[in-house]
């Protein structure tokens, strides 16, 4: 009897369609809603010549040697209570193998307020370290040689001030600014869009960002002047495509602003960096990172005419997704974080923060912070994930998904352009509405169990033993208040007052404000005093909120 050989693909299709299908109602699209096929084959591989790591457009990575050359930086975001406590935690983490510092500031500091401001009451030290003046910064980095480490500072509206404080501390250690390495988040556009830590209106805010980029290009050339962020956009509820598109659009807005200032693109673009989320939908995240590199490289070379390879290479930090963590059965968060961290590594991140399991409830304890760090070390040294460059390159699925994310991002770029650019789009609440809609849609999917969060809407446990969490001693608040008042008492009043006057005058003009801020910082002007001086000139921004 002759049996006609079936075409394997058709055979599979028939077999699949006659196989039982799970009927649990759970979505098979990505968490962002991109529909997925059950199977990808060679037919799904995009037609293009083979891409190589370290070669334009860098889909497979910006370095020819990937992690074989150098592992990603294990950079755990950290900070709480006072500079003294945080200094202790930094030394603990460095001793345990962390390779770079990352500073978390408290709400008043993030919002440019001194600890003794009336609106700082109750807010001090809870979500980061309280820094009111250079004095606190000196304590924060006491005994930590700034020449030997790199530091990332997560701060936006007052970013220029904190950078100046860092430079001043380094000066005191005898380290010239030209030797300093690190990153400043300094991404004000995403504040208007997602995190809402804006103070000044968009115009002056952008001016400050460009001032810092311009200053660093000359004086602090090893510093990453900005960390153009998608993390906050994603955490606010956007999809992965929106995170990708809005972040890169913001990046282009910064490039435009610097070019308008008269800078040459190759003078500043190499020091722009990015910051993405690593969410729980594993493959979508890997595709997102690869698409990001490809899109940025293309735009930098083709649209902006950047000549230097260093301008084309998108470098990024990743943090595992805070919103994916649960308060219920929190130990599971260790597993979630591991999956997300693996996605970031397979996506080629330059630096990584892994969340601790208790972060839904509070800042991490020593133990949970250590587990989070160890998770990265596990990936680096035990799992083999770092042994091959872009190991998922060539996967039918990953390549198809990378292309799809790129395609969808380009659609958003057009829409933003039609609205007149990022800032007009912000003022039209375009991003905010997209994000709010995505957030609501996801919540509805969760409530209808089309998406599952273990412990939250399925696989629940009735009684849970409470886990030990970090508590900020409320007495620290009074101590910090006393400290800032002490600084104000003890400083050279004339020098401080002159510095602030000069700053006010410069703010009303067009000078680069960095040198003026640096002088005010050296004179122990407090962060709040510097910010208030700028507010007098720039004004305060009120958002047109959309629900």
């Amino acid at each position: 009897m002759k049996v006609r050989a079936r075409d394997p693909k058709e055979a599979w299709k028939e077999d699949f369609e006659s196989s039982p299908v799970r009927d649990d109602g759970i979505e098979t699209s990505t968490i962002s809603g991109i529909p997925l096929k059950p199977l990808y084959t060679a037919d799904d591989l995009p037609r293009r010549s083979e891409e190589m790591p370290g070669q334009f457009p860098y889909t497979r990575g910006i370095h020819p040697s990937g992690y074989r050359g150098r592992l990603w930086t294990m950079r755990q975001f950290s900070g709480f209570a006072t500079a003294e406590e945080t200094n202790r935690r930094y030394k603990y983490l460095l001793a345990n193998g962390q390779t770079g510092l990352s500073v978390a500031f408290d709400m008043p500091t993030l919002m440019g307020q001194d600890s003794d401001a009336p609106t700082s009451r109750g807010e001090i030290g809870h979500c980061g370290v309280a820094i009111d003046s250079l004095a606190d910064m000196e304590t924060l980095f006491g005994g930590i040689p700034l020449a030997d480490i790199t530091t990332s500072m997560t701060i936006n509206s007052p970013a220029a001030i904190l950078l100046c404080m860092y430079i001043a501390v380094a000066e005191e250690q005898g380290v010239p600014a030209s030797k300093l390495g690190g990153t400043l988040q300094n991404d004000i556009l995403k504040e208007f869009i997602a995190q809402k830590e804006f103070i000044f209106p968009p115009g002056p805010s952008m001016r400050l960002v460009v001032d810092s980029i311009e200053y660093c290009a000359k004086e602090v050339p090893q510093w990453n002047t900005i960390s153009i962020s998608g993390y906050h956009i994603r955490e606010a509820g956007s999809t992965a495509v929106q995170e990708l598109a809005f972040t890169l659009a913001d990046g282009m807005a910064y490039v435009d602003a610097c070019i308008e200032r008269g800078m040459r693109i190759d003078d500043f673009a190499p020091r722009l960096s990015f910051f993405f989320d690593a969410h729980i939908d594993f493959f979508e995240e890997i595709a997102k990172f690869r698409a990001a590199r490809r899109i940025w490289a293309r735009w930098m070379r083709e649209r902006y005419g950047a000549q230097s390879e260093r301008s084309w290479k998108l470098r990024f930090h990743t943090q595992t997704a805070g919103v994916s963590l649960t308060a219920q059965q929190p130990e599971l968060n260790i597993a979630r974080t591991a999956i997300e961290a693996l996605a970031a590594v397979l996506g080629g991140t330059q630096s990584l923060h892994t969340n601790a399991m208790d972060e839904v409830l509070a800042l991490p304890t020593d133990k949970s912070a250590r587990i989070a760090l160890r998770t990265q070390q596990l990936l680096a040294y035990e799992s083999g994930a770092a042994n091959t460059i872009d190991p998922l390159g060539g996967s039918y699925f990953i390549e198809a998904l990378t292309d799809e994310m790129e395609r969808q991002a380009e659609i958003y770029f057009k829409r933003i352009e039609e609205l007149g650019g990022v800032i007009p789009a912000i003022e039209a609440s375009f991003f905010q509405k997209e994000i709010a809609d995505s957030a609501f849609r996801y919540q509805r999917e969760l409530e209808q169990k089309q998406r599952i969060m273990i412990g939250v809407n399925d696989f629940k446990v009735d009684e849970e033993a409470p886990i030990e969490i970090l508590r900020i001693d409320p007495r620290l608040e009074a101590e910090q208040v006393a400290r800032v008042r002490e600084v104000r008492r003890k400083r050279d009043q004339a020098r401080c007052s002159n510095a602030l006057t000069a700053l006010r005058k410069a703010a009303a003009g067009t000078d680069n404000l960095m040198p003026y801020i640096l002088e005010a910082v050296r004179a122990y002007a407090t962060e709040g005093e510097i910010m208030n001086t700028l507010i007098e000139v720039f004004g305060i921004y009120t958002e047109q909120a959309v629900v």
């Binding site: 009120t542 047109q544 909120a545 959309v546 629900v547």
Partner: protein
């Protein structure tokens, strides 16, 4: 009092916010009634005008009340008229009504306000022709907000030509340009409101309007009472409801219910 109406997205809240600032500078106390539509299905609403007027938070001379249209097809609930009366009685120098131009709400506003201001913007899509019938008749003042946008001139021109064809009254509605986000044109706008107010007084229209409003409101209240009576009857009297469904006679059924009088 002045009523502001216009399609969503025309910047009415920002405009009213700016006017409140202006009035406060002149040391007047202001009450704002802002109406948003309720969902006809769930009855719920996000009342989003207050958040546009944040700068007046904690100013004791500014009172803001957000109201849902509460299923009232015209966009204003019955409570609005009461509220306006109360606010006047409480001694606010100025009362401003703001409502979204959906359904028949422009007509509603006109029936309630002394001066009706219709707000438009340049990006109207299909142009001024799309403006609903009735607007030309009821507007005492036209405002083209977001005047910094392209197409502003065209809107003004089209409005002017439409107005020239409309029947003439004793008041010629001015067409004003504002950029509410930048506080531009607001003084001229308020001056126009005052001018209209002056016109109403001097022409005797103010009294006529007040009378007409009381009559209208009485009719509205009657309609609401009747509506509630009918709904309640149909809910509670299953025979009646059954007959209605079988015979399909809404007019007869309604008459029957109203003839019954108030149910205790």
């Amino acid at each position: 009092m002045a009523g502001f109406t216009g399609a969503p997205g025309t910047g009415k809240s920002t405009l009213v916010d700016g006017l409140v600032a202006l009035l406060r500078k002149q040391e007047s106390s202001v009450a704002v009634l802002a109406t948003d539509p309720n969902s006809p299905f769930t009855g719920g609403a996000i009342l989003g005008d207050r958040i546009r007027m944040q700068r007046h938070a904690l100013d004791p001379k500014v009172f803001i009340r957000s109201m849902g249209a509460r299923g009232h097809l015209g966009g204003l609930s019955l409570a609005t008229r009461e509220a306006i009366r109360l606010l006047g009685a409480f001694g606010f120098d100025e009362v401003i009504l703001e409502t979204v131009g959906v359904g028949q709400s422009e007509l509603e506003v006109a029936a309630v306000a002394d001066t009706t201001v219709v707000v438009l913007t340049p990006n109207l899509g299909d142009g001024v022709q799309m403006i609903k019938a009735g607007i030309l008749e009821i507007a005492d003042i036209f405002v083209v907000n977001k005047a910094d946008l392209e197409g502003h001139g065209r809107v003004v021109t089209e409005l002017r030509s439409m107005l020239s064809l409309a029947p003439k009254g004793s008041w010629k509605p001015p067409i004003l340009a504002t950029v509410a986000a930048r506080q531009e044109g607001l003084e001229e706008l308020w001056a126009a409101v005052l001018a209209h107010r002056e016109h109403l007084e001097s022409s005797g229209r103010a009294g006529e309007l007040a009378e007409q409003r009381l009559k209208d409101e009485t009719a509205e209240v009657a309609a609401e009472i009747a509506r509630n009576r009918v709904r309640r009857a149909l809910d509670e009297d299953s025979d009646l409801a059954g007959r209605l469904l079988k015979e399909g006679t809404p007019y007869n059924t309604a008459e029957e219910i109203l003839d019954r009088g108030p149910q205790r």
